[in-house]
C-alpha cells in the first residue's frame, strides 16, 4: 500500500471514479449540502458589489433551498421497494458510507433532509411574509438559517462520533444567534444567552461521553462501534468486566444528555420555554421543527447505529465500476481495493460487495453479532422510553398553566418530542427480533415528522402574523378573534386539532403510526420472551397524554371563538385575505388534507426506513 494508492482511493471515494463524478459518489450524495454552502457564499459575495446591495437576499436563499430540495430529489429516491438489480444501479439510493465513512447516505437521510429543505423553503417565505429580517439583516439571518440547516443535514447523516458532535455544534451555534435575533430586546438577548450557555454545556457533557465511548472501544466510527460492542458482548453480558460496563453506560448517559438537550427532552428541557418566549415566533418554528427533526434523526442514527449491525452497503463508486467495467477511464487501481481499504469497517457485511451480498455468506455471521448486541439495544430502548415518558407527560402537564402562546407551544413542542421518541424506543427494542416491524416504526416516525412539520410551522406562523397585527402574544388577547379574522382562526384551530391528533386531520396519521409501532414492538418483544412492558407503558402514557393535551389546545380554540373581545386589546389590523393569509392556507392544507395522501406519504416513509435495519 503506497501513498499513490491511498490517494487514488481517496479520489474514488469522493468522486466515485478517477475521471468523473459518478451518480454513486460521495460528492453527488452530498450535493444538496454543497448547494446550501454555495448559497451562503453567494449571499456574502453578492453583497460585495454595489449593485448587490439592492438585491433582496430572500430570493437567493429561496433559490438555494429549492435547488437543495431539487438535488435531494426525494421523488426519485423514495419509491417502491427496490429489487437487488435495481439497488445495484448506480443512481439508486441504498446504504452508502460516504467520505471515508464519516457520513452515511441512505433513504432515511434522503427523507429527513428533504423535509429539512422543504421546511427551509417554507421558512424563508414565512420570514419574508412576517417581515423579521429587514433588508440589511437578511443576509446575516438567512446565512445563519442555512448554516444551521447544513448542520442539521450532517446530524441526519452522521456516521462517526466526531461528526455527531460537530453536526450538533453546527446546528446549535447559529441557532443561539437566531434566538437573539432581535438584538435590541432584553428578552431576546436573555433567550440567546440562556440557550448558548446551556447548549454549550450540554455539548461539553456529550463530548465527554463521546470520549469515554470512543476510548473504550478504540474507534469513533459508529458501525465499527457496533461491531466492537458485538465482539465485547459475544460472551453474554456477564462476560464483560463490570468496570467496562460501567464506563459504557456512563458514556451512553453522557451522550444522551447532549441528545436530550437537542430534543428538549425532560429533564434537559429547561431552556426550551424560556428561549421560545424570548425568541421570535419565526425562530421558534425553526427550532421546534427543523432542529427537532434533525435531533430525532440523530437519535435514530446513534441508537440504531450502536445497537444494530449496519446492513449491507455499497462503497462509493463501486456500482458504477461494476456497471461500467468496459468504460474507458474508470480507476487506476483495482476497485476491490477501494472496498478493502476504506470500507474495511463493514468487512463482515460488505465482503461480497455486490448486490448479491444480501444473501451471501456474510448473513450467518451477522446474526450472532446482532444477537450479542441485544443488551445494548435493551439498555438504549429503556433509556429512550424513560426519557419519552417523562418528556411527554411533563410537557403536557406544564402546558396547562401557560398564558403566553409561545410558551404554550414550547411545552407542546416538548410533549411532541416525547411522542416522537416513543417509536424510536420501540424500534430499538424490536430490531433483531422483528426487523420488518422495526422498519415500520421508523416509517411511523418519518410520517410524524412530515405531519409535524406543517402543523408546527403553521402554528408559529399564526403567532407571528398575529404578533405583527397586534403586538401581543398573550392567549387572552386572542379572545374573540373569530369575529375579526375568521379564516385565520379556522386555520389555527385545524392546526391545533391536528396537534392533538384528532382523527380527520393528518395529525392523527402520525399518532396512529406511532402507537401502532408501540403495539408492534410490545407484541414482538413479548413474543421473543423479553420484558416488553415498558413499551406497553409507553402506549398507555401516550394515550393518556393525548387526552390531557386535548384540554389546553381546546382552551386556545375556545378563547378565540367563544370569548368576547377584550376591551383593552390594541387595535387589530389584520386581514385574512392577504399574502400572509394565503400562506396560512397553504400550510394548513396539508395539515387538514394529508390524510387523503396517506398512501403516498406512507410509501415514502416506508422507503425511508428501508436501509436502516438489515
Amino acid at each position: 500500500m503506497n501513498l499513490h494508492d491511498l490517494v487514488s482511493q481517496l479520489i474514488i471515494d469522493s468522486t466515485g471514479s478517477a475521471s468523473l463524478i459518478t451518480p454513486d459518489s460521495s460528492l453527488r450524495a452530498f450535493l444538496p449540502e454543497l448547494v446550501i454552502c454555495a448559497t451562503v457564499l453567494a449571499m456574502l459575495f453578492v453583497r460585495l458589489f454595489r449593485v448587490g446591495r439592492y438585491v433582496d437576499m430572500f430570493w437567493i436563499a429561496l433559490a438555494g433551498s429549492i435547488a437543495a430540495l431539487y438535488f435531494a430529489a426525494p421523488w426519485d429516491h423514495l419509491g417502491a421497494v427496490l429489487t437487488a438489480d435495481q439497488a445495484a444501479h448506480p443512481a439508486a439510493v441504498t446504504r452508502m458510507e460516504i467520505f471515508t465513512g464519516m457520513l452515511v447516505y441512505d433513504t432515511f437521510s434522503v427523507y429527513v433532509r428533504s423535509a429539512l429543505f422543504l421546511f427551509a423553503i417554507l421558512f424563508v417565505i414565512f420570514t419574508r411574509l412576517s417581515g423579521i429580517p429587514d433588508h440589511e439583516d437578511s443576509p446575516d439571518i438567512y446565512t445563519l438559517v442555512l448554516g444551521a440547516t447544513l448542520g442539521m443535514c450532517l446530524m441526519v447523516t452522521a456516521n462517526h462520533l466526531l461528526m455527531v458532535f460537530m453536526a450538533v455544534e453546527m446546528a446549535s451555534v447559529p441557532s443561539y444567534v437566531l434566538a437573539g435575533i432581535l438584538k435590541g430586546r432584553r428578552q431576546a438577548s436573555e433567550a440567546a444567552l440562556k440557550y448558548s450557555v446551556y447548549g454549550a454545556g450540554a455539548a461539553g457533557v456529550m463530548l465527554y461521553g463521546i470520549s469515554l465511548v470512543a476510548g473504550i472501544l478504540n474507534t469513533a466510527h459508529i458501525p465499527t462501534i457496533a461491531l466492537t460492542l458485538a465482539e465485547k458482548f459475544s460472551g453474554g453480558l456477564s462476560a464483560v468486566p463490570s468496570g467496562e460496563l460501567m464506563v459504557l453506560a456512563l458514556g451512553a448517559l453522557l451522550i444522551s444528555v447532549g441528545l436530550a438537550f437537542k430534543l428538549s427532552a425532560v429533564p434537559f428541557h429547561f431552556w426550551c420555554p424560556d428561549v421560545f418566549e424570548g425568541a421570535t415566533a419565526e425562530v421558534n418554528a425553526f427550532l421546534s421543527v427543523a432542529s427537532k427533526a434533525a435531533a430525532l434523526a440523530l437519535l435514530v442514527r446513534v441508537a440504531l447505529g450502536m445497537g444494530v449491525i449496519a446492513p449491507t452497503g455499497f462503497a462509493p463508486g463501486e456500482r458504477w465500476a461494476k456497471t461500467h467495467q468496459n468504460a474507458p477511464a474508470t480507476t487506476p487501481t483495482s476497485t476491490d481495493k477501494t472496498t478493502d481499504l476504506f470500507y474495511i469497517a463493514q468487512e463482515p457485511v460488505t465482503a461480497a460487495g455486490a448486490a448479491a451480498a444480501a444473501d451471501s455468506t456474510a448473513e450467518p455471521a451477522k446474526l450472532p453479532a446482532m444477537q450479542s448486541l441485544a443488551p445494548v439495544r435493551s439498555f438504549t430502548a429503556k433509556l429512550i422510553a424513560f426519557f419519552a415518558i417523562i418528556t411527554c407527560t411533563f410537557g403536557n402537564l406544564a402546558a396547562y398553566g401557560q398564558t403566553n402562546i409561545k410558551r404554550l407551544l414550547a411545552y407542546s413542542t416538548i410533549a411532541h418530542a416525547g411522542y416522537m421518541m416513543m417509536p424510536v424506543a420501540a424500534v430499538v427494542a424490536m430490531a433483531g427480533i422483528d426487523n420488518a416491524g422495526a422498519a415500520r416504526g421508523i416509517a411511523g416516525l418519518a410520517i410524524y415528522i412530515a405531519v409535524y412539520l406543517f402543523m408546527n410551522l403553521g402554528a408559529f406562523a399564526v403567532v407571528a402574523f398575529l404578533r405583527n397585527a397586534m403586538r401581543s402574544e398573550e392567549i387572552a388577547d386572542y379572545a374573540g378573534l373569530v369575529r375579526r379574522c375568521p379564516l385565520t382562526v379556522v386555520c389555527f384551530s385545524l392546526i391545533l386539532f391536528g396537534l392533538i391528533g384528532l382523527p380527520p386531520l393528518s395529525g392523527f396519521i402520525g399518532k396512529f403510526a406511532i402507537f401502532a409501532s408501540l403495539v408492534d414492538g410490545w407484541r414482538a418483544v413479548e413474543a421473543a420472551g423479553q420484558p416488553g412492558f415498558y413499551l406497553l407503558l409507553l402506549l398507555i402514557v401516550g394515550g393518556i397524554n393525548t387526552a390531557i393535551s386535548l384540554f389546553y389546545y381546546l382552551r386556545v380554540v375556545k378563547v378565540m371563538t367563544i370569548d368576547d373581545e377584550p376591551a383593552d386589546r390594541p387595535p387589530l389590523v389584520y386581514s385574512d385575505v392577504s399574502l400572509a393569509g394565503a400562506y396560512l392556507w397553504l400550510i394548513t392544507l396539508p395539515t387538514a388534507g394529508l390524510i387523503v395522501a396517506w398512501d403516498w406519504l406512507s410509501e415514502m416513509a416506508d422507503a425511508a426506513a428501508r436501509n436502516l435495519i438489515g
Binding site: L161, L162, F165, M166, E169, V173, Y176, V177, G180, K183, G184, R185, R186, Q187, S189, E190, A191, A192, L193, K194, S196, V197, A200, G201, A203, G204, V205, L207, Y208, I210, S211, L212, A214, G215, N218, T219, A220, P273, D274, E277, G278, G401, Q402, T403, N404, R407
Partner: protein
Amino acid sequence: MLRPPDGLVADGITAIDMDSFPPPITVSHYLVVGAVLFVLGAVCMATKRNALGVLMGIELVLNGANLNFVAFGSRFLRQDTLGLDGELMALFVIVLAAAEAAVALAIALNFYNNHTTIDVDHADDLKG
C-alpha cells in the same frame, strides 16, 4: 524534553516494576486529570453568576474531554489505541470550541448592552 521516556526498559533499568514508586503513568492518570477538569468546569458552570465565568467553565469541560481524547490516542500510553482519531477529534474540538466561544461572547456582550449587567441571575425576565 517533553518526549515521554521510553528508556527505562531499554536502558537496562528494568528493576522498576509495577509496584514501585513512582508508578508508570497510564491512560487512567490522564483520565483523572480530565475528569477533574470536567467536574471543575461543570461545577463552575453551575455556580458562577458571571456569564463569562460560565463560559470559562465550558472551556474547562471541553478541555477535560480533549485530554481524554489525546490520552486515548496516545501511542505512549497503551498498545491498542484510538489512534489518530483521538488527536484529530481533539483538534476539531478546539476549533469548534473557539467558534462557540466567539458566539457566546458576542451574545454575552449583547446581553450586557441590553441589561447593563453580566450577572446571569438577573436573566429572569423569562420564567413560568
